[in-house]
Amino acid sequence: MSKRGIVFSIVGLAVAWQIVAMLVNRDILPAPWDVFVVFVDELDNGLVTHFFYSLWRVTAGMALSVLAAAPAGLLIGGSKRLDRIFSPIIYVLYPIPKVVFVPVVLLFLGIGDVAKITLIFLILFFQIVVLVRDQAAGLPPQLIQSLQSLGAGRRALFRFVYLPASLPAILTALRQSIGTAVAVLYITELFATKYGLGYYIYYNGSTLFNYPAMYAGVIAMSLLGLGMYYAVDWAERRLCKWKFVS
């Protein structure tokens, strides 16, 4: 995505927001400039702390899910026997909307960060495991056989074939899941915490009725999602160079 295209999109969005704000003309939708001014003020007023709480939770959830799901997907995709055992289980669990487990996870894991990170982990884990499994299982047999003929056993196949082959799948899964992860983050931060952008948005909107600050929180959360999107793109350009050579 070109930087110019992104700047144009942001300007376009701000213009559309300004028009709608003028048409609505109510406190619940302040103009973008007013929100921007409050956003800058709020940076010194705790918004940065809330941002970093949210960033820590969503990053920890994503890192854990990659660390657990990528090897699991590789093992299942690389072994027909494991695939026969685990694929039906994944098939049953994958479509369940994990957000419904919010109360269950809170009951079991308490109200701290562990519960919040676990929920993000649960959602991302299945997305990554399915994509990595499919990628590993779909590798051309000739590729595996030619590596075997070079002396590669199971360990070398994982190191030289399955792992690098699954990197794009991991990054695609992450990119697809960022939106969901940030949405779940918002929900988890509504419960029993005083830090995080979810709490900040809800507290300013529903308790203090400080709508410009609420929107400043929404912008901060959008920047969090956008930043993560960029981070995944950056990682893909570094780790999957062959995909970007023309």
Binding site: S146, S149, L150, G151, V245
Partner: protein, 252 residues
């Protein structure tokens, strides 16, 4: 070099492909295995590579029964088997990387293994210097096959197995690579077994031709002519082409 004793093989729930099959290849020979689709020629190559195992009988290479891929056997496949995420240089050095990964364990890597020549030598020799930093998707089919050959030769093999390696290449590149293969076999004292469905290619590369069908037969290629310049215009070449053509047609 290769000895097949009473070999039988079949895939589950299908008719056996080989039954009580015997075959012998001497060191330094170049063999072409010819046959129509589904006759088992690729299966035979995979058996020789140690990637499939006979249901009965024994495969011996260098007097040793074959139980797993043999370190000194090189396999080159039709679609090259190159890693798409690795450059030509990285692909050429892949076999050595795999050996480094295991260390000299005597199983994946032979004890006291020392490659005779650096992968860089083969990159230069096979004319890949200019594309060494490119990825397989960005080079021609001929260059990909050269990379696969460089990767195999970097492991100093004594037996080269090739599965229809040139079938997806244009006629000029195919002939260039056929000549290159034969000259490398001669230079490195390699034994060559190449699978093909093209009669012309079998005659161009094989000093002996194994025709695989219901009753496998061996054809001698007129001595010393295979791969030589002008061989294709010789009477012997045309006669052998006609003979193999008839034999294959009769089978159908």
């Amino acid at each position: 070099m290769i000895n097949l004793h009473s070999l039988s093989f079949g895939y589950p729930h299908t008719a056996p492909i080989f039954q009580n099959f015997n075959w012998k290849v001497e060191r330094g020979e170049t063999w072409a295995i010819l046959g129509s689709s589904g006759c088992g020629k690729t299966t035979l190559l995979y058996l020789l590579a140690g990637l499939r195992f006979p249901t009965a009988g024994v495969i011996e290479i260098d007097g040793e029964p074959l139980k797993r891929p043999r370190p000194r056997t090189g396999l080159i496949l039709q679609d090259y088997g190159l890693l798409p995420w690795a450059t030509v240089r990285e692909n050429a050095g892949l076999g050595l990387q795999v050996r480094d990964f295991y260390g000299e364990d005597g199983k994946h890597t032979p004890k006291n293994f020392q490659p005779e020549k650096d992968p860089e030598y083969w990159i230069t020799k096979l004319g890949l210097g200019e594309v060494a930093e490119k990825f397989p998707a960005h080079i021609s089919g001929g260059q990909r096959q050269r990379t696969a050959i460089a990767r195999t030769l970097a492991l100093s093999p004594d037996l080269l197995l090739m599965d229809e390696p040139f079938s997806s290449l244009d006629a000029i590149t195919r002939e260039d690579l056929q000549h290159l293969t034969l000259s490398l076999c001669k230079e490195q004292a390699l034994t060559l077994v190449i699978v093909t469905h093209a009669i012309e290619e079998a005659i161009a590369l094989g000093s002996k031709i194994l025709l695989l069908d219901s009753s496998p037969r061996i054809f001698e290629n007129p001595k010393g002519r295979a791969g030589e310049t002008g061989h294709r215009n010789s009477r012997e070449y045309r006669e052998l082409c006609d003979l193999l053509w008839k034999e294959m047609r009769n089978e159908k």
